[in-house]
Structures are given as structure tokens and as C-alpha cells.
């Protein structure tokens, strides 16, 4: 065992909401010391999304959405619009390896904290910016939140039922994608710095990053000059391939046959071996042409079973299949539970509950959840005192003057 993978790396984290905090969560989970910096007057929006009853005391410290995405981080508060706040932040930068932000394109420069300023504080600093559109171009200042990114990237146009319109994904899909990519950007810059001795600026345009996850459609369009049709749960060449109803209320099972052998297994499991020799289904091409009928045949079978029964019978026969799991199913999932996917955490104000563990499992460098999502300003003393050398009286003065705070002004999220 040789310590966590990113032990010794410090990150000053200006990000809020989801994409940016997801990036620094991944890095914090692997052992980086992430110091989340929030504004007293503009706390992280996720603190407002607790769904707890109105009047819950300190609800901003109990938002699960916030606490899951910010665990393993330290949290302090600095008003960057205040000259003293800016000074303190630059002192923190001087002691950090990385700064990461997900403001709109012009904001960091307007705060007077552009890359050149940061580099004066720390010559080999790495700065990652993750605006929606990028820092230049005619749309750079356009607002682009989570679901806008999938519309701009081309993903929404590829999603949708056969013959229907484009479909919104079930989550703000671009956010965790940009987050995982931004974590990679930090790591690449660290690897490069080791050889060059230099930090660098990295710009991640979220819409471009997401287009990377559908690149074959870009290349394909340059071949065909035709927008691809929406094909729902179907596959461009495999059949059958779909999502079928099971006996349970709004319960579904997916089935995918990649070749003749898997199709034959499916037929046997359904008790329909005669379909194996049926000329309509003899080859991938012919199955593809007749997949409407096949879908009806499969649905007739799955309707008679629970989704788990169908899943178990099919996968035991080597056919890719899986139940559609909702978050409740995932919470109770025996496979994930046996893998230790959930770890119990304890939070000083919010109590104890189960949280998903760090995603990447390193055999020699184990990781875990070591600290709770920070309460608002929880580590002001650590950051201003231990790291920056301020006295208790000076920290109290900062909090009195509103340069720092322990109680957020939530009004911008109402």
C-alpha cells in the first residue's frame, strides 16, 4: 500500500453546482486536498436543493446533493469581489498546484483573477476553466446550463423514440461528462508539469467535450451528409435490441443480441426454439428488417415474468440483458452492496447515511470517504489560519466584515 494516488496535490476550487464540483470530487476521492471556495453572498446552488422541509435548521449544510458532490473536500468562504478577499485567495493560490473554475467565460477575468494574475502568485499554477462554449467565439457569453449543453453538443438530436422528436436525457448529462474530463485535464497537466516544470492553462468547452462522446456521428455525417435517424433503444446493426415490459408496474428489462448465437439462446430461453430456424430471423440483416415482429414476440414473453427473472434467465444463457434500475433499486442493489459501493458517512450537522464510494478502485492505493461535505465555511480556520497564517482575531474580523462567513446569504437561489 502506497498512499492515495493524488496525495500531496492541493487544488483551489472555485466551482459550483455540478460539473465542476464533480470534477473536484473525483480528484478529492483520489487523495488530492481540494479546498472549495464559496462566496458569502453566492453559495453553491446545490446547498439550496436539499428538498428538506421549509424551516429545516441550517438546511444548506444538509443538502445531500451538495454533500455527495463535495465530500472529501475542505470548504472555506471568501468574497472575491472584496480586495482583501482577492488577496487571500491569491495567497491560497500560491500554496496550490491547481485552480479550477466553472464561471461563465468572462467572469474570472472580470474578478481580476485571470491566468496571468494567478501565475504571478504561483508561477507553475495549473488553471482549468470549464465554460459552456469556450472562452472565445461569438457565443462565448451565452448562458448554457446542464441540459443546454446536450442540445448544443448534438446529443439531444440523437436521442428519441423511433420516428419521434429529440429527447432530453434524464439528467443534466453534460455535467458529469465535463466533470470527469476536467479531472483528466488536471491530471494531464500535472503529468506534463513534472517533465516541463511549467504549469498551464486548460480550457474545457463543455459542449465540445460532450460532442467527443458521439464522435462517430460527426465522422459519419461527413461521409453521408445526412442527419442520422432517431432509433430509440435500437442499435444501428444488431437486432433484437430493446427495452421490454415485465410483469411489474412500470418495470422493464433490456435485451441485446449481438450475433446469431445470442439470438438462438434467446429463442431457447423464451421456449421458442422454432424461431431459430425461421428464415425471417436467420441473419443479422434479416432480424434487423423484422425487428418489429421480434419485439412483439419478446414483449409477449417478458410480460409474463418479473424483470429479475427475465434478466437471470437470459444472462445465465449468455444473452446480454438487464433490468432498468431506478435509484431505489440501485440503493438496495445486492451486487453494488457486495462490492461495497456504499459507505456510511457521518456529518456533524446532517447525521449518518450511506454514500457512494470513490469510483475508481486502485488495488495498491485504496481510497475511501474520509471527510464529510463541508458545512458552509467549515474550514475557514484551517485555510486562513493553518495554511495562510492568520490569527484567530484576524479570521473573526474577516467574518465580521463579510469577507468570509459561516452563514450563507441564500437569497440568490430563491
Amino acid at each position: 500500500m502506497v498512499g492515495r494516488p493524488l496525495e500531496g496535490i492541493r487544488i483551489a476550487d472555485l466551482t459550483a453546482v455540478w460539473a465542476g464540483p464533480y470534477a473536484t470530487r473525483l480528484l478529492a476521492d483520489m487523495g488530492a486536498e481540494v479546498i472549495k471556495v464559496e462566496s458569502p453572498n453566492n453559495p453553491d446552488l446545490l446547498r439550496a436543493l436539499s428538498l428538506l422541509p421549509a424551516g429545516t435548521e441550517h438546511a444548506w449544510n444538509k443538502s445531500a446533493y451538495f454533500n455527495h458532490n463535495n465530500r472529501n473536500k475542505f470548504g472555506c468562504t471568501i468574497d472575491l469581489a472584496n480586495p482583501r478577499g482577492k488577496e487571500l485567495f491569491l495567497e491560497l493560490v500560491a500554496k496550490s498546484d491547481v485552480v479550477i473554475e466553472n464561471y461563465r467565460a468572462e467572469v474570472l477575468d472580470k474578478l481580476g483573477l485571470g491566468y496571468d494574475v494567478l501565475r504571478r502568485a504561483r508561477p507553475d499554477i495549473i488553471l482549468v476553466s470549464m465554460p459552456g462554449h469556450g472562452k472565445n467565439g461569438p457565443e462565448r457569453d451565452f448562458v448554457a446550463y446542464g441540459t443546454n449543453v446536450e442540445q448544443l453538443a448534438g446529443l439531444a438530436s440523437l436521442s428519441g423514440y423511433v420516428g419521434g422528436g429529440p429527447q432530453k436525457t434524464g439528467i443534466s448529462f453534460g455535467d458529469p461528462v465535463a466533470g470527469a474530463a476536467a479531472a483528466a485535464a488536471v491530471l494531464l497537466a500535472l503529468i506534463a508539469r513534472k517533465r516541463t516544470g511549467r504549469g498551464q492553462y486548460i480550457e474545457l468547452a463543455q459542449r465540445e467535450t460532450l460532442t467527443s462522446l458521439l464522435g462517430e456521428y460527426v465522422v459519419g455525417y461527413s461521409m453521408t451528409r445526412e442527419n442520422p435517424p432517431r432509433i430509440g433503444n435500437r442499435h444501428p446493426s444488431w437486432a433484437p435490441h430493446g427495452c421490454y415490459p415485465s410483469s411489474g408496474e412500470d418495470e422493464w428489462v433490456t435485451v441485446a443480441c449481438r450475433d446469431d448465437a445470442e439470438f438462438a439462446s434467446l429463442c431457447r430461453v423464451m421456449g421458442r426454439p422454432e424461431l431459430i430456424g425461421d428464415s425471417r430471423y436467420a441473419t443479422a440483416d434479416s432480424r434487423y428488417r423484422h425487428q418489429d415482429e421480434l419485439d412483439e414476440t419478446i414483449a409477449a414473453w417478458t410480460r409474463s415474468l418479473g424483470r429479475m427473472e427475465a434478466f437471470e434467465a437470459l444472462t445465465a444463457a449468455g444473452v446480454p440483458a438487464a433490468p432498468v434500475l431506478g435509484y431505489r433499486d440501485i440503493y438496495d442493489n445486492p451486487h453494488l452492496r457486495e462490492r461495497g459501493f456504499f459507505e456510511q458517512v457521518t456529518h456533524p450537522e446532517a447525521g449518518s447515511w450511506d454514500m457512494e464510494r470513490p469510483l475508481y478502485r486502485f488495488a495498491r492505493r485504496p481510497t475511501s470517504i474520509e471527510r464529510n461535505g463541508p458545512c458552509f465555511g467549515e474550514h475557514n480556520a484551517y485555510v486562513f489560519g493553518e495554511l495562510l497564517g492568520l490569527s484567530e482575531a484576524e479570521i473573526a474580523q474577516l467574518e465580521k466584515e463579510g469577507v468570509a462567513a459561516r452563514t450563507p446569504n441564500m437569497s440568490s437561489h430563491q
Binding site: 502506497v2 494516488p5 473525483l26 436539499s50 428538498l51 446533493y65 455527495h68 482549468v128 469556450g134 472565445n136 467565439g137 457565443e139 448562458v143 441540459t147 443546454n148 442540445q151 448534438g154 440523437l158 436521442s159 423514440y161 429529440p166 429527447q167 432530453k168 443534466s172 470527469a180 474530463a181 479531472a183 483528466a184 491530471l187 506534463a192 516541463t196 511549467r198 504549469g199 498551464q200 474545457l204 465540445e208 462517430e216 442527419n227 433503444n233 442499435h235 428489462v253 433490456t254 444472462t315 449468455g318 446480454p320 440483458a321 438487464a322 433490468p323 434500475l325 431506478g326 435509484y327 431505489r328 453494488l336 456504499f342 450511506d354 469510483l359 475508481y360 478502485r361 486502485f362 488495488a363
Partner: protein, 395 residues
């Protein structure tokens, strides 16, 4: 100079997840050697094809995902193929494998042998279910992975079956996470000289990204929603049909004033039904009706431009043709032309992100086994030995 110059990665993957992971490693400068079975297959099987006669070299999926790699063919079912892989691994920093659990072990490379014989190596295993647990052995595809990850249950219309995202988003998410994890492994190994084995499970990556659904349920057993809400979650968050396409609205409380002004409905800012978030929630049906009515009369390009200037969070759904004509992507030179000796000149997405000091670059996808001779020669094999291997079909 590139970020990963001097880093060698062996790619044993056959799927999109591993292919995307190693494409990114290659684009950022690693020497990625993709080991393919002598018959080809894998990513090369999927169209559209630039040239039907030379399908194995010209499929869009292969051309995109195999950029910046070298290709060698090796029959890993033979002792000679396994011996050559061992020699390759001895020169490598990382290996990426997205094949079913147990494949690499059956080829003679168990976890214990890998850590004993190649202690420097970062071994990244990419799979739906991970390397342990009761479901680890089960067959899986992009569709079934998307189903168990929790995202599918929330996607689609309430009165229809759950819907997967377009393309292969379960595989791509796994590949992207595999890329990040492999980089962390390389970073840690560069300090200590000690590699690692990394287990990345797509199901877990997706289950961790369910917005506030799983976390709020885990914490307080509160159901934010169970099931699917189609294209419109609320009046201020949804996809709305417009004159020539679809507009996407995603307004946080702070953006509502800009949205109201964009809709020429400034009066809503004074109206007690709409002026704060609680009021809007209580009168969501009315709000939806107004947004539907407004959107239906809008031309998508003009509405997007006006919204952008007004800082209102409204975008339009870009089809592939819109990406090719986007003023923003054009101004940023995002799409890139790349020539390929068989497929010809085609258009590719640009970098995942832009590194100022060590930028990525795209090199065209390799022909099947196009670097076999070159790579074997680097391992010290003589031309005669390589000819013998070709004769036996190992390469």
C-alpha cells in the same frame, strides 16, 4: 510537446469504452499500441463506411475511436502471441482492457502475474459491473449497462418505455472515466515507479451521476421523482417544439427575469404567480403553456441568438448538420479534417479540452496490423522472425 510524450499504452480493448479511453490517451500524446486479432473485428465492424469494399478500414466508429494509435495484429490464443504480448507489456506504462472478466487471465496474465512480472504497469479494467461481486461475470452491452446505471429509468416519456440516450453513452461514460482513472494511475506510478490495477465499473460511474435522486433518497428517503418526465420537467426546464426544430430552456431562479424578457413577458416579473420560484412552481401549468406558445412561433437560430445576447438560458437542439454550420464551432476551429489513405478526407471532433502548453493532436486511425512489423522490430525481432510469424498466422 504533448502531455503524455514518452508514455506507452497497450490497448487490448475490443469495445467503445476501452477504445475511447485509449483514443484520448493517444490524442494527448501517448504511444498507444492497439492489439487486434488477425481477423480484425471489434470497432471495425460498424458503419457507416466510407468505402463498402474496404469496410474494415473505413467504418466511422473505428476511424473516430482509433485515432492516434498504432495497430498490430496478434493472436493472443497462442503461446507465441502471449509471449509477444509479455514483451510488449515489459515496455509499457499502462494497459487498458474492456473485454469480459477473465479474458486476460485466460491468456496467461493473471492479476498476480501482472503485478509480479510488470510492477511498473498501470492495468485498467473497464467493465459494466466491475471485477468483483455477483454480477461481475454477466454479459453486458451499452444498452444493458445504461439500464442498470439508473440513467435510463429517468429518460423518456412517462407513458412509454424508458429510453437510452442516443449513441453509446454508457460505453463512452465508462471510457471517459477509464481515461481519468488511468491518468491518476500513471501520475501515481510516475512518483513511485509502482503501477497499479484499477477497477472501473460503468454501473457505478452512472449510478453516481443521478443528480439529486440517489443522494437525496439515500440521505432522507425523499423521492424527488420516480420514473420519467419526458421533455418538460417544468415550465422553465424542458425541450419545446419551435418553428423549425426544438428549443431547450433551462432557467435557474436567477435567470428567470432574462427568460421572461426574452419571451416579451416582462409582466411576469411583477405578477405574484410568477415573480418567485415558489409561485412559478405553484403555477407551473400556466407557465408551461406560455413557454409552449412562445416557442412554437420561434425560428431556432434567431431565438438562440437573441437569447444569447440577453443572457437567457435557451439553446436549440443541434443536429449533426447544425454542428457543421455552427458559427461558434467554426470560430474555434473545433471540427477537424483528417486524411486517411483508404477512407479519404473526413471530419472529426476536435480536442476533448484545450491544453495551452501541451495540446492534443489527432493522427489518423491505423490500418489493421499496419504497424505490426514496426512494433515487432522495436521489440528486437529480426525481419526473418517476423516473416515466420506472419506465415503461422500469429500476426
Amino acid at each position: 510537446m504533448s502531455a503524455l510524450e514518452g508514455t506507452r499504452v497497450i490497448d487490448l480493448s475490443t469495445g467503445i469504452a476501452g477504445g475511447f479511453c485509449t483514443k484520448l490517451l493517444g490524442d494527448f500524446g501517448a504511444d498507444v499500441i492497439k492489439v487486434e486479432p488477425p481477423g480484425g473485428g471489434g470497432l471495425r465492424d460498424f458503419g457507416p463506411f466510407a468505402d463498402a469494399v474496404s469496410a474494415a478500414e473505413t467504418g466511422a466508429l473505428h476511424l473516430y475511436l482509433d485515432t492516434s494509435k498504432r495497430s498490430i495484429t496478434l493472436d493472443l490464443g497462442t503461446p507465441t502471441g502471449q509471449e509477444l504480448l509479455a514483451r510488449l507489456l515489459a515496455t509499457a506504462d499502462a494497459v487498458v482492457d474492456d473485454r469480459p472478466l477473465g479474458n486476460l487471465e485466460s491468456e496467461g496474465f493473471s492479476a498476480s502475474r501482472l503485478s509480479a512480472d510488470f510492477p511498473q504497469l498501470v492495468v485498467s479494467y473497464l467493465s459494466t459491473y466491475g471485477q468483483s461481486g455477483p454480477w461481475a461475470q454477466l454479459p453486458s452491452t451499452n444498452l444493458t449497462a445504461f439500464a442498470v446505471g439508473g440513467q435510463m429509468a429517468t429518460t423518456g416519456d412517462p407513458d412509454r418505455e424508458p429510453l437510452k440516450n442516443g449513441g453509446s453513452q454508457a460505453d463512452y461514460q465508462l471510457g471517459l472515466n477509464g481515461f481519468t482513472a488511468t491518468l491518476a494511475g500513471l501520475w501515481a506510478a510516475s512518483d513511485s515507479g509502482t503501477g497499479d490495477a484499477i477497477d472501473v465499473a460503468g454501473m457505478e460511474c452512472m449510478a453516481s451521476t443521478l443528480e439529486l435522486m440517489l443522494n437525496t433518497y439515500a440521505y432522507a428517503h425523499i423521492d424527488y421523482w420516480n420514473g420519467r418526465k419526458g421533455n418538460v420537467l417544468s415550465g422553465v426546464l424542458g425541450l419545446y417544439p419551435c418553428e423549425n426544430g426544438y428549443l431547450g430552456v433551462h432557467a435557474m431562479p436567477r435567470n428567470f427575469p432574462a427568460l421572461a424578457r426574452l419571451m416579451d413577458a416582462d409582466w411576469m416579473l411583477e405578477d405574484e404567480r410568477f415573480r418567485d420560484a415558489a409561485g412559478r412552481l405553484a403555477h407551473d401549468d400556466e407557465l408551461r403553456a406560455m413557454v409552449y406558445a412562445w416557442a412554437s412561433g420561434q425560428e431556432k437560430h434567431a431565438a438562440y441568438e437573441r437569447a444569447g445576447q440577453a443572457h437567457a438560458p435557451v439553446a436549440y437542439v443541434h443536429e449533426m448538420s447544425d454542428l457543421f454550420q455552427s458559427p461558434q464551432l467554426t470560430a474555434r476551429d473545433y471540427l477537424q479534417e483528417l486524411n486517411h489513405p483508404v477512407a479519404g478526407e473526413l471530419t472529426y471532433p476536435g480536442p476533448l479540452f484545450r491544453m495551452a502548453d501541451t495540446p492534443s493532436s489527432l493522427r489518423r486511425a491505423p490500418l489493421l496490423g499496419g504497424h505490426t512489423g514496426e512494433v515487432l522490430a522495436e521489440l528486437g525481432l529480426q525481419p526473418h522472425d517476423i516473416e515466420v510469424l506472419r506465415g503461422t498466422g500469429v500476426v
